[in-house]
């Protein structure tokens, strides 16, 4: 053990010396070329390896930028993800109408909190940062995140969800600071982009766990994710997490804004399945478009999350849902956050269908499409051509063919 350590030290020392003259001996004895990088990259702000090519792509249904130059919905490459944090550069992007990212000078930034309050207040970014902050890990998922038979990859079926550590001021603290008056039931938030997208959230949620956030994964928010300030509404549909937040108005009624009206339903059963995401999970490996190189041991892995709180259990089926085994939770479990799960798996070369099922802290269980169809009294194959009512948290199955190729089993 000691001699092993010493030889490793010697090796590292040798490597350092070699590096000084411009080459590093790799373990295999070959000499890799040096990374070609700029001073900006080496010193100021690091780039990932050029061997890593994982990127976001626009949703299948609409190009980005579209013919108006608007970025619509852009998908996170979940198939390449490890752990639970989405790199800020790969966080999904979604805006209701499509938006051109506003260029906001943080020194000019102002946030107005007003309406049915005792003392309306206007804050600069510097002032917001003088309040006590909290950092929490939360997913954001767009209501448009719904798997379709024509989707080939997990990026297409499920890529409108991402998870970051968000840092900011609890909205409840700011609301106490302005003094919410009697009779208030809703809070309307508004962004600074060209269309000034606005949405209404219940006061109960605003006072519960929302953040007026300026930090994402240890640095300021990325422009596409709301720089310099956005709202975080943990567990709610993505649209309520207003980006480029400029104003919140405290009110005694639902405002029926453009964003609101697009998300309403006349069916109480559907309405009850909006706002808060249900328990959801998806297998990211093996998933559509990937290929198992041969028989043998693999790690089935994926992500689980719920708008209802923490993930309590994830189960995996490798026989199309006939039998289920508990997966291991691999990492930390946070409330309303992506949770990494996995399981050892030996593939014998047979065709099979793999899928995962999430149970959350409220005891809610992720449904199959057939179960949702039963609730809404439609035929079991109804969702082949229609969207699932409310937010779609149904199980996504992947079919592994005998040659190891993986396909969307909804197709």
């Amino acid at each position: 053990m000691d001699s092993k350590k010493a030889s490793r030290r010697k090796f590292l020392k040798g490597g350092a010396a070699a590096a000084a003259v411009g080459a590093i001996q790799s373990a295999s004895g070959q000499t890799p070329a040096l990374v070609k990088s700029s001073l900006k990259d080496e010193v100021a702000y690091g780039e990932r390896s050029h061997y890593v090519t994982s990127v976001r792509v626009p949703v299948l249904e609409r190009p980005s930028p579209d013919e108006f130059g608007l970025t619509f919905h852009v998908l996170t490459p979940l198939q390449d993800s490890v752990g639970i944090i989405t790199p800020s550069s790969l966080h999904f992007v979604g805006t209701h109408r499509g938006a051109i990212v506003p260029d906001i000078d943080p020194r000019e930034y102002r946030f107005l909190l007003h309406g049915m309050v005792d003392r309306p207040l206007e804050f600069t970014l510097e002032e917001l940062k003088r309040f006590p902050s909290v950092s929490r890990i939360h997913f954001i998922e767009c209501l448009g995140n719904r798997a379709k038979p024509e989707h080939k990859t997990v990026q297409q079926t499920t890529g409108l969800t991402s998870c970051s550590e968000w840092t900011g001021v609890p909205l409840s603290l700011l609301l106490k600071e302005v003094g919410v008056q009697k009779g208030v039931s809703w809070v309307v938030s508004e962004g600074s982009e060209e269309v000034k997208g606005a949405g209404s959230i219940p006061l109960a949620k605003a006072m519960d766990d929302c953040l007026v956030a300026y930090g994402q994964n240890g640095e300021p928010l990325r422009p596409q994710n709301g720089f310099p300030v956005r709202l975080i509404v943990p567990g709610f549909e993505g649209i309520y997490n207003t980006k480029w937040l400029r104003r919140m108005k405290v009110a005694d009624r639902y405002y029926m804004t453009y964003n609101d009206y697009g998300h309403i339903s006349n069916d109480p059963k559907v309405a009850a399945l909006t706002f808060q995401w249900g328990p959801k999970s998806v297998i990211t490996f093996p998933s559509g478009g990937q290929k198992l190189p041969g028989r043998g041991v693999y790690q089935i892995t994926g992500l689980a999350w719920s708008g209802g709180g923490a993930v309590r259990k994830v189960e995996i089926s490798t026989d199309g849902g006939h039998t289920w085994k508990d997966a291991e939770i691999r990492g930390e479990v946070h409330r309303m956050a992506h949770t990494r799960f996995g399981m050892n798996w030996k593939w014998e070369g047979q065709e099979c269908v793999v899928m995962s099922r999430c149970t959350d802290e409220l005891g809610q269980v992720q449904p199959t499409r057939a179960q949702v169809a039963k609730v809404f009294n439609v035929p079991p194959d109804y969702y082949h051509n229609h969207g699932v009512q409310g937010s779609d948290n149904t199980i996504v199955p992947w079919r592994v063919a005998t040659d190891g190729s993986v396909y969307n089993a909804l197709a």
């Binding site: 206007e122 405002y255 409220l362």
Partner: protein, 201 residues
Amino acid sequence: MGACTMHLRNLLLLVMILGLCQLASAQSPTYGLGKTPTTEEIRAWDIAISPDGKELPQGGGTAKEGAPLYAQKCASCHGATGSGGRAPELIRSESTTPAPGKQPPCLSPCIRGANVMAIHSPYATTIWDYINRGMPFGKEGSLKPNEVYALTAFLLYKNGVIPEDQVVDAQSLPQIKMPNRDGYVLPEWKHGMPRPFPNKP
């Protein structure tokens, strides 16, 4: 002398405690951060229009006044007839209604197969608010209140909601009975509330 001091000290303590209690009940700000905006400043920021229309500005317009404005400012994206353009459909007509089974997906509830704002939104204020905040594309915020009233009237008339000569203003706009007025249910939300869905695997 000693007893008197102690008495005074207790009294002082009592006054301090009472003072603290009062502070708490009045919910004074704790941090003293931020600036108090003037009423005029708030009015300038506040573009959110409630369904009761209390924030609507002075002015008004009719569909007749809106028609040339539509042709000038909206038709290039939304189409001369309000449909078939590059941007979302604004006017529903029988000729553009797709055949049954060939309807494009639309938001629930789907009325007359359409996702047209004037048909789908429960309140006319939503249309006024959105034109005012978000249109025309690339020149958002450039329309005068009279123009927004006239364009709102034009879209409502063209979708069969109001007559051509109806004046739409701050008083009449919130009163307009929209076809989908009762077509929505607001979800309730409480901390720790599960979704009402069968939770058996």
